[in-house]
């Protein structure tokens, strides 16, 4: 069995090499080529917006904790200590 597979592989490689030897592809490039990007078209659905823009956001207003007085508890305690 193994011998049969090896023989088949040898035959294939031999014929493949012959094919390559028969066809020779020569590539020639243009000396000057203009590409119009504006005319390029891509097939598909447009998801993103066409123009680039920055959304205007409201300025974040940081509120500093300014000094507040909610009670005079400290002063009331101090009154006790300032008597006796």
């Amino acid at each position: 069995m193994l011998k049969l597979i090896l023989i088949l592989l040898l035959i294939c490689s031999a014929t493949w090499g012959q094919d390559r030897a028969r066809t020779q592809i020569i590539y020639k490039y243009k000396k000057y080529q203009k590409i119009d990007l504006g005319n390029l078209s891509v097939k598909g659905k447009i998801i993103t917006p066409g123009d680039i823009s920055v959304k205007e956001q409201k300025r974040k207003k940081f509120s500093k904790g300014l000094y507040k007085r909610s009670n005079f508890d400290r002063e009331m305690k101090q009154e006790i200590w300032d008597i006796r």
Binding site: Y67, R69, S70, N71, F72, I80, I83
Partner: protein
């Protein structure tokens, strides 16, 4: 003849219901004999010594014997001893017994001891316990107004506003009643101050519950001639501030600039002035106040702090400055004189000074007695008590000065916040391209809020005593123009 018997009956009634003893004070011979005796009678030696010395008006000499009686496991404490112990605490102050543990103090039912235990529990934050002991003080006792003041304060701290107000009202009535019963001017003044403190606390409770108008009504009950009045102004200003009457706020605070109140400097008044200007969008004025605070007041406070750090471990330095000459105090630091003037008016300071002087007088009396084991012991103890009160006074002055410098530091940070807020708001105006008012009208009478029962006079650069505390600015708010 019948008049003689009527008078005798009246004297009997007075003795019966006031507990006055008609027995003359014992002689020193008797006291020495009692001291040296080794009797094991029901009324113990220490209790007897306490009673004899209190009768003899050697109060500071009696302190240690009273403390030993309380701490003793065997000595019985009866109502007679409690009566004299009560008198002793009134005469020498509660500080002398503060170091005695509560479990020994609670052996006595004397009302002044109950007050002392309540105070100690209050200082440790054990409010429920404090209230239990305050309940035991009778209505006509000398400590009753202070007990009600303490009770009201505790109720306020545990957010029981209604009970707090009731307690303060009880304090006001108690103080009025006791002031009426005494003929001594100093005692009358003392109860008047207690009464005013309780009225002020009612106003503070109203403020805490955002009831600003009622709070103002209570503050206005305090007379301008009162020692408490300079401290009322800043609190009145806060009420006006929260009622959005910024002109009135500024008017109240400018009262501190008058020569009469030169010794009363409150850094918080500067912060509140800055906040008032800020709320009226008067950026220039706000920044002026902030700049003055940082350029002038803060460096002075920093130099005071250096002075305090250098002498913080001294037991005498602050006591010495208190009794130094004014020009020397001013030379040390300009704030020292102002703070000391405020301390001199505090009841606590005056009490401790009074006790210290009494101890010194008693020491002289004891030194004149014939030398014996007892008098030698008493000389040591009374001298120790005298120096104890001196240390208390020194400590009190030191604490007040440190409190002042800490306040300056804390409020200096608040002033920086205000400065940043002004810059932030100015920047907002620029970004929004709003038109800021270029010319601000410097006050107009139509901006002054006047009540129906108020008269109005212009300020011509003179501070009249009866007008102090009633100033109002007439500035126009810049905020509407900025929108």
């Amino acid at each position: 003849m019948w008049q003689f018997f009527v008078r005798l009956f009246l004297i009997f009634l007075v003795i019966k219901f006031t507990g006055t003893s008609v027995v003359a004070a014992p002689s020193w011979k008797k006291i020495e004999k009692s001291y040296m005796s080794k009797s094991k009678k029901k009324i113990s030696k220490n209790a007897k010594m306490t009673i004899y010395l209190v009768k003899k008006k050697f109060y500071f000499s009696a302190i240690n014997f009273a403390q030993k009686t309380l701490k003793s496991k065997t000595e019985r404490i009866d109502s007679r001893f409690n009566r004299y112990l009560d008198k002793l605490l009134i005469k020498v102050g509660i500080n002398s017994f503060k170091k005695v543990h509560n479990r020994f103090l609670s052996r006595s039912r004397a009302p002044s001891v109950q007050f002392l235990i309540a105070r100690k529990n209050f200082e440790k934050g054990r409010y429920k316990k404090a209230l239990e002991f305050l309940q035991r003080i009778p209505e006509h006792h000398r400590f009753y107004p202070e007990a009600m003041l303490l009770k009201g304060t505790i109720f306020n701290l545990i957010d029981r506003g209604a009970s707090s107000t009731d307690s303060f009202l009880g304090c006001v009535e108690g103080a009025k009643s006791l002031a009426g019963e005494t003929k001594k001017v100093k005692v009358k003044k003392f109860y008047k101050v207690i009464e005013e403190k309780c009225i002020m606390n009612i106003a503070r409770v109203k403020f805490k519950h955002d009831n600003f108008k009622d709070s103002l009504k209570n503050y206005y009950k305090i007379q301008k001639t009162s020692y408490t009045w300079p401290f009322v102004l800043i609190e009145l200003a806060w009420n006006s501030y929260y009622l959005n009457d910024y002109n009135r706020t500024l008017g109240l605070l400018v009262t501190y600039k008058s020569p009469l109140l030169d010794d009363y400097f409150f850094p918080e008044a500067e912060v509140l002035s800055a906040l008032s200007y800020l709320n009226m969008c008067l950026w220039g004025d706000t920044l002026l106040v902030v700049e003055k605070f940082h350029k002038f007041y803060s460096p002075q406070s920093a130099s005071l702090l250096k002075l305090l750090q250098a002498n913080k471990n001294s037991d005498e330095y602050f006591f010495q400055i208190m009794f130094d000459k004014e020009n020397r105090r001013q030379a040390v630091n300009p704030y020292v004189g102002k703070i000391l003037v405020q301390i001199r008016k505090k009841i606590y300071f005056n009490f401790q000074l009074h006790f210290m002087k009494k101890a010194e007088r008693e020491l002289r009396k004891v030194s004149e007695l014939k030398t014996s084991k007892l008098t030698a012991q008493l000389r040591k103890e009374v001298a120790a008590h005298g120096s104890f009160y001196k240390k208390i006074i020194n400590q009190y002055i030191k604490e007040k000065m440190f409190y002042f410098t800490n306040e300056m530091n804390r409020l200096s940070a608040e002033m920086y916040n205000i400065q940043l807020e002004v810059l932030s708001r100015k920047r907002e105006v620029v970004y929004a391209a709003r038109n800021a008012v270029k010319e601000r009208v410097r006050g107009d009478f139509k901006n002054v809020k006047i009540k129906k029962d108020q008269y109005f006079w212009k300020f011509n650069g003179e501070f009249w005593a009866d007008e102090l505390g009633d100033f109002s600015f007439g500035l126009k708010s810049n905020c509407k123009e900025n929108k």
